[in-house]
């Protein structure tokens, strides 16, 4: 029975059996609809509450220390989860976070990096040597701040050929 006919029957208020049955049906439908609607609203608001995210307080800009502290070579800087490298061309910062699933890569033989979780190997410049990783390690933006400290920004990626000259 269509809603329009139910409403008509209800408002006309005929006292015959069919109208009474129609009215009962309409009220039952109305009750169910109200409950379902109220339930949907509550569930929706609960989902909104559950998807609330507290503000992130992470600092992505991290000082690595004085340039003099790092002789030529590759050094792991824990505070920044970064390999600070210094070669003949200059300084660079290589993100230690594996691009596969986020473990920290470790220095391996021949200047390679290896991931202890799933066995990926990376070249010294971050390129993938063997998988499962498919993306190269990120090179991070590196500069000297006003206090003379080497500093990286973990959110800013640069090309693997970029070097900081001091």
């Amino acid at each position: 029975m269509s809603v329009a006919r139910l409403v008509t029957r209800f408002t006309e208020g005929k006292r015959d059996g069919a109208a009474r049955a129609g009215r009962r049906q309409f009220l039952a439908w109305l009750a169910r609809g109200t409950l379902a609607g109220a339930g949907a609203i509550v569930v929706g608001q609960v989902l909104r509450f559950l998807s609330y995210q507290p503000a992130s307080e992470n600092t992505t800009i991290i000082a690595l220390g004085q340039p003099e502290d790092y002789p030529p070579g590759v050094h792991y800087v824990r505070a920044a989860q970064t390999y600070l490298g210094r070669d003949t061309e200059g300084w660079y910062a290589l993100d230690a976070v594996c691009t596969h699933l986020g473990c920290l890569v470790e220095p391996a033989k021949d200047g390679l990096f290896s991931c202890p979780c799933h066995g990926s190997y990376f070249h010294g410049d971050g390129r993938v040597k063997t998988g499962p990783a498919t993306k190269p390690l990120r090179h991070l933006y590196l500069w000297v701040d006003q206090d003379g400290l080497l500093t990286v920004d973990r959110t800013r990626e640069v090309s693997s050929t970029v070097r900081l000259l001091l």
Binding site: S51, Q53, S56, L101, P116, G131
Partner: protein, 337 residues
């Protein structure tokens, strides 16, 4: 059969049970032992909640307090740990028993509830593992949550929902704690009740026919003996082997061999060779779907109910065996690596 009004706890079973299938040599008591281990886990878990502090700074310190300072805390924690490990085993063996003896024939809905309980058991174990917040569990958590990012579409939103933010931190630990002690535990409690209710409604353990029947009082006595033996084994194990606790989790420390919990080692092994979406999400989901489909596809014939290695179910039994052996081989490979 007793003439008295039955005790409340007897209602878990129908008044009579098929005698042949109620024997320990038929079921090995695996379902009942799993239930008993769950009850032990609830009790020991509630006790641990009196001391455990679910914050990155408090977690390890409070676990050390439980282990080294609180009277009998070491036993409590060991029992909680080993009951959790054993439950993965007994639940899996219970599932194997049901497949090999055709127990799911004619009661496929309960097979699906049982599968949901297997998943809940693994999630409960994993969330509990994370509460240690030590080095090993830290990396397992990082990899496990990063896997979610690989799901197309909903991945990032799901990650934020699970981690409680853009990255792992104090909100993550609090969420895992809440899921572990309340959300998942409550769901498991409800599903266990439903699972057992369905067994009762279907007339007790699956049976192949109209054999002699046993009163539930006799069955409950057998179950009590099995529970006592399980408890003895659990306490014995907890006396000789300590639950592990590593150095505090540190997202900046280089770690030599981060390992997933043993029941997820097969996924870690697959992740070495396949993409995160395939190895970490699609394959585990596929395994679950294949298991769910067994009584709907390969083993639809109701003949052979309650018969170990029944002929109509052979194909399903072999498929199950291949699946389980595959998973076990991968776990073994990861352990030997």
């Amino acid at each position: 059969v007793s003439r008295q009004r039955p005790n409340f706890f007897y209602h878990i079973h129908p008044p009579t049970i098929p005698a042949r299938e109620a024997r320990f040599q038929y079921t090995f008591g695996l379902g009942g032992i799993s239930l008993f281990l769950f009850l032990v886990l609830v009790l020991t878990g509630v006790f641990e909640m009196f001391v455990y502090i679910p914050t990155p700074e408090g977690a390890i310190a409070s676990i050390r307090e439980i282990t080294y300072v609180a009277p009998y805390g070491w036993l409590l924690r060991n029992m909680h740990f080993w009951a959790g490990q054993l439950m993965v085993g007994t639940v899996a063996l219970h599932m194997a028993r049901v497949v090999f003896s055709g127990g799911y024939k004619g009661r496929r809905a309960n097979w699906l509830i049982g599968l949901a309980l297997l998943v809940l058991t693994l999630f409960l174990d994993f969330t509990g593992y994370v509460l240690r917040w030590d080095q090993d569990t830290g990396w397992a958590l990082l990899v496990g949550t990063n896997l979610l990012q690989a799901i197309p579409g909903i991945g990032p939103a799901l990650y934020r929902f699970v981690a409680g933010g853009q990255r792992i931190g104090a909100p993550t630990l609090l969420r895992f704690y809440t899921w572990h002690v309340f959300g998942l535990a409550l769901l498991a409690f409800i599903l266990i009740g439903w699972h057992i209710f369905r067994v009762r409604r279907d007339g007790g353990i699956s049976t192949q026919g109209q054999g002699p029947r046993l009163s539930r009082e006799q069955l409950v006595r057998t179950e009590l003996v099995a529970a006592m033996l399980t408890l003895a084994a659990l306490v014995g194990l907890s006396l000789v082997a300590d639950a592990p606790l590593g150095p505090p989790a540190d997202a900046t420390a280089l770690v030599d061999e981060p390992q997933a919990p043993w029941f997820f080692l097969w996924v870690q092994e697959l992740l070495r060779v396949a993409s995160p979406l395939v190895a970490g999400i699609l394959v585990p989901l596929g395994v679950l779907l294949a298991l769910a489909a067994l009584p709907y596809t390969l083993d639809r014939n109701d003949v052979g109910t309650g018969r170990w290695f029944n002929r109509p179910g052979r194909v399903a039994q072999v498929a199950f065996l291949v699946l389980v052996l595959g998973i076990l081989m991968l776990i073994l490979r990861a352990v030997l690596r």
